[in-house]
């Protein structure tokens, strides 16, 4: 899980072109979409693509997306939960 969190941070930085960010600057518990990283709706869609591309996981709709994309941790949990099943 810890490895996954670190990996996700790097992937998020790459996918969202957060060029001036370093993985250690992202707090895995903090909300991704309120202030923090200054992400917007397009970034959310891009993260949904990331989950599909790198982990083969589909997010069905925006509502589910909101929960899954709450924080780096919630993304990692979503991945772990669905990979096992």
């Amino acid at each position: 899980m810890e490895n996954l969190v670190e990996k996700l941070k790097s992937e998020i930085i790459e996918a969202l072109n957060l060029a001036e960010m370093k993985p250690e600057q992202i707090d895995e518990n903090a909300p991704l979409f309120v202030d923090g990283l200054g992400l917007d709706s397009i970034d959310a869609l891009e993260l949904i693509v990331l989950l599909e591309k790198k982990y083969g996981l589909k997010v069905a709709n925006a509502e589910e997306g909101k929960k899954v994309l709450y924080s780096v941790n919630s993304m990692a949990e979503f991945i772990t939960r669905n990979k096992k099943g």
């Binding site: 917007d40 709706s41 397009i42 869609l45 949904i48 693509v49 709709n61 925006a62």
Partner: protein, 401 residues
């Protein structure tokens, strides 16, 4: 005294009709053009409805009366068909008689042909016919229409996303008003393409069912295709030629929402500004507008933002309002012109179009759209909204003579 700008002819082809008569018949009888995709080869065929013009390349060539072997894109053909109708409708046979311009708008250009080319090409660099991509540039469909119509004095292509062709009207009207052109054929065209279907799908704003603009349960838009063209003439020319005038373009305004690349601001700042500017140019009070043909795409974001802006400008009981995208889908770069033609036909026929499939009032808004066809004579002033990605917002006002 600046010249008034008159509309003397219109042409249209969309999923609800290949000309004025079919179009008005569909509008009156609540016949929507949104349905299963049968012509475009896409993996989303059975998943995403769209509003196709049910005509193949050959059909369109025949309707346009074209026999030569140039590679015509679907975009160019749809454009030619609507442009030709507008010229005929305005009884223009000698293009050279007055200083005449062509302003055409598009977002995809000849993308449909490029897609035909690209698939075999990426598998083998020797495959694919190069002549299929010479139509790719957005300017190509305009040039083709210019060649076909013989318009040479002034030719330009506008590309501002979904407000493109509304901006073509705005630009044309200004050029006449300022005496730079005497007549100008304005409009826009976009064909349905894999490019846009896949792109909009990645934005998760395509409804898997026919769209429901301004409905609480609305769930996105459907893409459409088509073309609309309108012949604008200076008042002095129309009088000299004793033209029968359909209506006047009396107001126009454009503003930037300056909020987000694709999303509209929550309070519809850009929409409010563009509608207000249009009223100011037409010197009208909000209460004098008889009907608003809304942008109304059916996405959560647009309809809320536009609705809020309408309330801000018109108060809690705005004029009758509807989105005709429930008929035609969102024809992107063509939408402004297609809906401008609808507005001209509304004034001509004294009718207000229903907002199809509307059921449930939006909780955030005080008003709901028109649900059944209304006969209302006279319809004096109609406002039409077209808002594009990039926050490019345009409002137009059409007035009866």
């Amino acid at each position: 005294m600046p010249e008034k700008v008159f509309i003397t002819g219109v042409g249209i082809i969309s999923s609800i009709g290949k000309g004025i008569d079919e179009t008005i018949d569909s509008l009156k009888n609540s016949r929507s053009g949104i349905g299963v995709i049968t012509l475009l080869e896409t993996a989303y065929k059975n998943e995403l409805p769209a509003a196709e013009v049910k005509a193949t390349h050959e059909d369109l060539m025949e309707i346009a009366g074209i026999k030569d072997k140039r590679p015509y894109s679907r975009t160019a053909l749809l454009g030619i068909i609507a442009a030709r109708q507008a010229l005929r409708h305005a009884f223009i046979d000698d293009i050279a008689a007055y200083r005449t311009g062509l302003i055409s708008a598009t977002t995809v250009g000849g993308m449909d042909k490029s897609e035909v080319f690209y698939r075999p090409f990426i598998e083998n660099k020797r495959h694919g016919r190069l002549r299929d991509i010479i139509t790719h540039d957005c300017g190509d469909s305009t040039e083709t229409i210019a060649d076909y119509t013989g318009i040479r004095d002034y030719v330009s292509t506008v590309s501002t996303a979904c407000s493109s062709s509304a901006n073509a009207l705005l630009l044309g009207a200004r050029l006449i008003k300022n005496g730079l052109l005497q007549r100008v054929l304005v409009g826009g065209v976009d064909a349905l393409t894999l490019f846009t279907i896949n792109g909009f799908n990645s934005l998760m704003i395509l409804d898997k069912n026919p769209c429901r603009p301004f409905d609480e349960e609305r769930n996105g838009l459907n893409l459409g295709e088509g073309a609309g063209f309108l012949m604008l003439e200076a008042e002095s020319i129309a009088e000299k030629e004793k033209k029968s005038v359909l209506c006047e373009i009396s107001g126009y305004g454009n503003a930037c929402d300056a909020f987000h690349q694709t999303a509209s601001s929550p309070e519809g700042d850009g929409a409010y500004l563009s509608m207000k500017k249009a009223l100011d140019t037409a010197r009208l009070e909000p209460s004098m507008i008889d009907y608003i043909n809304a942008h109304g795409t059916g996405t959560k974001n647009n309809d809320l933002s536009e609705g809020k802006a309408i309330e801000r400008l018109f108060g809690n009981t705005p004029p009758p309002c509807s989105s005709t995208k429930a008929y035609t889908g969102h024809t992107l770069g063509a939408a402004g012109a297609v809906e401008a033609v609808f507005c001209v036909l509304a004034i001509q026929n004294g009718i207000i179009y229903p907002n199809l499939r509307f059921q449930k009032q939006m909780s955030e808004l005080s008003f709901s759209p028109v649900v059944a066809l209304q006969n209302r004579k006279p319809l004096k002033h109609i406002m039409s909204n077209s808002f594009g990605f990039g926050g490019n917002n345009t409002s137009l006002i059409f007035s009866a003579i």
